[in-house]
Symmetry: C2
Subunit: 258 residues, 2 copies
Amino acid sequence: MSEKKYRILVVNDDGFTAPGIKALIEVMKEIGEVTVVAPDSPQSGMGHAITIGKPLRLDKIHLYEGVEMYKCSGTPVDCVKLAVNKIFKGRKPDLCVSGINHGLNNSINVIYSGTMSAAVEGAIENIPSIGFSLDDYTWDADFEPCKKYIKAIALEVLKNGLQSGVLLNVNFPNKEKPIQGIKICRQANAKWAEDFEERQDPYNRNYYWLTGVFQNNDKGEDSDVWALNHHYVSVVPVQFDMTAHHAISVINEWNFDI
Amino acid sequence: MSEKKYRILVVNDDGFTAPGIKALIEVMKEIGEVTVVAPDSPQSGMGHAITIGKPLRLDKIHLYEGVEMYKCSGTPVDCVKLAVNKIFKGRKPDLCVSGINHGLNNSINVIYSGTMSAAVEGAIENIPSIGFSLDDYTWDADFEPCKKYIKAIALEVLKNGLQSGVLLNVNFPNKEKPIQGIKICRQANAKWAEDFEERQDPYNRNYYWLTGVFQNNDKGEDSDVWALNHHYVSVVPVQFDMTAHHAISVINEWNFDI
């Protein structure tokens, strides 16, 4: 059987013009038939936002040879929903890949990331899904070293499948050293320490720019932050059941004064 | 010691004018000192979105007696970040409550909901946090029956604390029958079956409205959907560690062909 049997949905959050999605498309073309639905403007930090209060646009574009491609006015999650419902219709794709993001989505970033939320939405739709991100925030980031890992991980997912309700969050280390291999990890317990830069507009009204510093106090050698710091590709299995199952028995002991 | 010792942050996603946040403020005023930071426009479905590409406005308003209140141009998560950093500054509030949402945030809705994402952000900031939602989507929903439960749940959280990385997702059933009590639950395994209504603008270009039907195939009597269908208040402990810990050993068996 030809390797071209797989039908692959490619999405991202940096928008359809991003070099990161171009690199991901190039890898996926080696594996299957590629359909791209990407935002028409950058959607970083959109998390799992969906568009309710206004209508969506979905327009076919011609950008890469042999690739069916659409730009969408909505969020990354909207892109996945539109792809499943209006493009693939009844017959779901075999794989949904998101990225390659220009910047890390390790640790708590999974929850803010449009890249990862698109992959989560793919998994909610019961499609094997993977998000890819690189520790390089520049537009001209070099995605070449990621490509063989992306292909290998995608092929393993297609071969083995993923457990129900599980997707993968794959992050690539920075280019300071060669990649040392792949580590299967847990999400590090880290967070952003925000600050807001306060400025005044020409009318003397204040406004704020969100800024922040990533703070990791998790020293575990099984975390994604550790793996990336040691130049491994981090692979975190992610779930969208957000229940804190371990807390149910604790709260069952409480006595509510009704 | 006076009951007024607690410092409470109130947020929502329906915006500062919503009757739901008014009801929540009324309950919290009985417990402590209330500070409100709410979006200046409806932010339903914003999930964990943050505002990166543009600046934020934060303006003090005077709406309810004895309440410090601000409206914010950003998302529900932005509201929490601004509150912690620019209003509470170093000294975090004792409690962060979000809602009362006009509409359910049970099951998978936790991931799309601005109400719940604000509470998640509170928990990331290590503040005991609770999101409240009512199964009534109308603007003139009756929040009165929720109030004694909200007070009792908030007081238990303040008394017992919550485990690190855990918050509560509280949903109230519809008004067809009286509330039967409180159930501690897990998130039901349900999803939205989307459809998009396709229309044409006056220039003959297509656009799409997101619509959908909630589909629950989870028959478990320990789920939030079951509790709400049986007219209980559902309380789901939620975590923001999205690692699928049970999948790590499975994926460690894979052989990546690098």
